[in-house]
Symmetry: C2
């Protein structure tokens, strides 16, 4: 029988009314003769509230305890969803991550799924009972409850789809699919019908909040077809992510985020010593950059190195996740030489153009568009599949709309 994993996010199970609505969708699918596995996130902003509470009690909450705490959110949602399903005549049974056989590594707060022992869920499906699994959590080898990090319920759903050989994993959320850009920002953004895994991966990493990046990687590695769709418009087919040919040559979409800080290490020596510096600097520049970059890399900090248009740059420009910023600044400071300086800018937004194959025309077009409108470009990161442009956060909306318009014009004329 056709088998689908359906996952409902926090906004889809925010209160009793929404849980009932989601249960209605499940009941409808069940009537169509589909075997279903349900995965739920915690209700609404439960996880954030629990984290706030924990931080009131312990400056840096204990990882093990935080996971035990946060896991309650999804456990409660799973039980409630099961009740709503039973009320609608659907036989159902809730499971914690541990109960569903989701085995993880031991890193609290960011555990990786290592195996899914799906026997219990298989038995459940064989007796025509819908298993409702608490997302975002699992159990480690030593019996500790772990959580999978932000967006972990997507990961649970896709891992279950792979383990149970489901035909598809439907991610029900509060938008009806993946858009070319955040539709709350870009006026002309439109929904994409289909994306391939790598496109989605870049989109997820750089601002599309509908799907978690790690979940996309698992989907890609295990060839799970994923559909992102709306709980509030269930007849809308949403966006399919799978082994589909890309429709777009120039660009897939535009992502935006403000989660990264811009860090600049100025390698200039003091002016008073300018002559001497020029000599030393020319000899030493790339070595110094490599040295500082390797300090961060050894500390397992995720960062990206920027490219500026100035070919003889005296600056090391970095983009560092704000959550790693404190640690990074401390490390860099410890390694600065006399005269070297550190600048941190938290007020930038990153606008990322995602493309199957980045080309220089697109890059030049983009940069020109922004320049023409006097939007300052602080920093650029270039990868084969992405161009990220850092602009002042208060110019974000303008920048995204300009780029979206420009890129759409290019595409339509192609």
């Amino acid at each position: 029988m056709k088998r689908i994993v359906v996952k409902f996010g926090g906004t889809s199970v925010m209160d009793a009314e929404r849980i009932t609505r989601a249960a209605g969708i499940i009941a409808g699918l069940k009537q169509n003769g589909t075997d279903l596995i349900v995965v739920v996130s915690a209700m609404g902003h439960t996880t954030d509230h629990l984290i706030d509470l924990a931080q009131k009690l312990q400056v840096k909450p204990n990882g093990r305890e935080l996971d035990l705490l946060l896991a309650t959110g999804e456990q409660a949602a799973a039980a409630l969803m099961t009740m709503a399903l039973e009320e609608q005549g659907v036989k159902a049974r809730s499971f914690t991550g541990a109960g569903a056989g989701i085995l993880t590594g031991t890193i609290f707060g960011n555990a990786k799924i290592e195996d899914v022992q799906s026997e219990v869920l298989e038995l459940c499906l064989q007796s025509n009972v819908v298993p409702v699994v608490a997302g975002f959590q699992g159990i480690s080898e030593d019996g500790e409850i772990t959580t999978l990090g932000r967006g972990g319920s997507d990961t649970t759903a896709i891992a279950l789809a792979a383990a149970l050989h489901a035909e598809r994993c439907d991610i029900y959320t509060d938008v009806n699919g993946v858009y070319t850009a955040d539709p709350r920002i870009a006026t002309n953004a439109f929904k994409l019908d289909a994306l391939c895994y790598n496109e989605m991966l870049e989109m997820a990493k750089h601002g599309a909040q509908v799907l978690n990046a790690r979940a996309v990687e698992i989907a890609r590695d295990k060839s799970v077809s994923v559909r992102v769709r709306s709980t509030f418009r269930p007849s809308d087919e949403g966006t399919l992510i799978g082994r589909v040919p890309s429709k777009f040559t120039d660009y897939t979409g535009i992502g935006t985020d403000t989660k990264s800080a811009f860090v600049r290490v100025s390698l200039n020596p003091p002016r008073s010593n300018a002559k001497n510096y020029m000599r030393i600097f020319r000899r030493d520049r790339s070595h110094r950059k490599n040295k500082l970059v390797s300090v961060l890399a050894s500390a397992h900090i995720n960062f990206e190195v920027g490219c500026t248009f100035d070919t003889i740059s005296h600056e090391l420009d970095l983009c560092i996740d704000k959550s790693d910023l404190e640690k990074s600044v401390e490390l860099l400071r410890q390694n600065l030489r006399t005269g070297e300086e550190l600048f941190v800018d938290l007020g930038l937004a990153r606008v990322s153009i995602i493309s199957q194959e980045m080309n220089s025309t697109c890059e030049i077009d983009s940069v020109c568009s922004l320049s023409k409108s006097n939007i300052p470009i602080r920093f650029l990161v270039r990868t084969p599949k992405r161009l990220s442009i850092f602009v002042p956060a208060n110019r974000k909306t303008e920048a995204v709309n300009l780029l979206h318009e420009k890129l759409e014009r290019v595409r339509l004329s192609a």
Copy 2:
């Protein structure tokens, strides 16, 4: 080393500030060199809110799912308390009921503790780590999470104290002990220094909300000394419940509750047939009463049979827990004969005089006091250790104060 179980109720862990306060008490005790095991209830009104939510989703929430849902409340509180302890420099580790080895029967929502496998907690104590256990829950033989019913965290605490051979179990709550009557109702109620188990059991069953009756039974059966004390006045010694001689001959205290309904079956046949009835009734009365009472008993309904002053009573008076009322009324109705009638009164309060040995002077004194003040007595239940008087709910405060005053006068004059 001295070993104490300390349990904190819902109001003692209502928010971050109160959890920190409770953690302070624990930290203080730990400094005194006591080995501690902590048990926590869910924060504030969490359990009630979760039940409300469940009832919005399913008319009669599934027992298994409700237990999975409710268990999250104590799990969260245990994790948060552990964080607060660690912040205060106390090494601690949280456990779910299952994790702490609390094995129960299989009745969801009202499971009985069958065994405590205390090895994990013993190991924890040996490494000088304070185990913080989620109260109110356990795990059944078939691996299902169960809850122990209302007041179940008291049961968890006392069962752990017995299993771990603790010197005492301290129940921290929002009042500083057990009172002769509810101090919010009786102006002159005073705190009792000590009670024996059976006195406490009657008090707990008939209105004293500080301690759960089943927990008292376990304490009695396992000889666990219990202290009821206040989180907000931790230096107050509270009330000791244990193998102590009773100080009181006439009465221990007065309990009040409104959880029971008064049900009267009038065995009178219709007036039009009065003559015939008199004959039948005289022959049949006690048989009929026994018949109706056995109907309820076979359905496992808890009820008490009243005594009226009318020796040739034509009425069967019953006191039935409101939660069993619907079922009881249905059963009685099915068994009524022509002419028999059923009356239900939900507007009565039960005022119970608890005594080591009930004597008739006390009973007559009590009833006279109420009569003199024109408080109608609707119904009396008499047991060797208790006299329960049903009065209109709106006269409850007056009745309790009158009785408390009267009984104190009797005692002081003895």
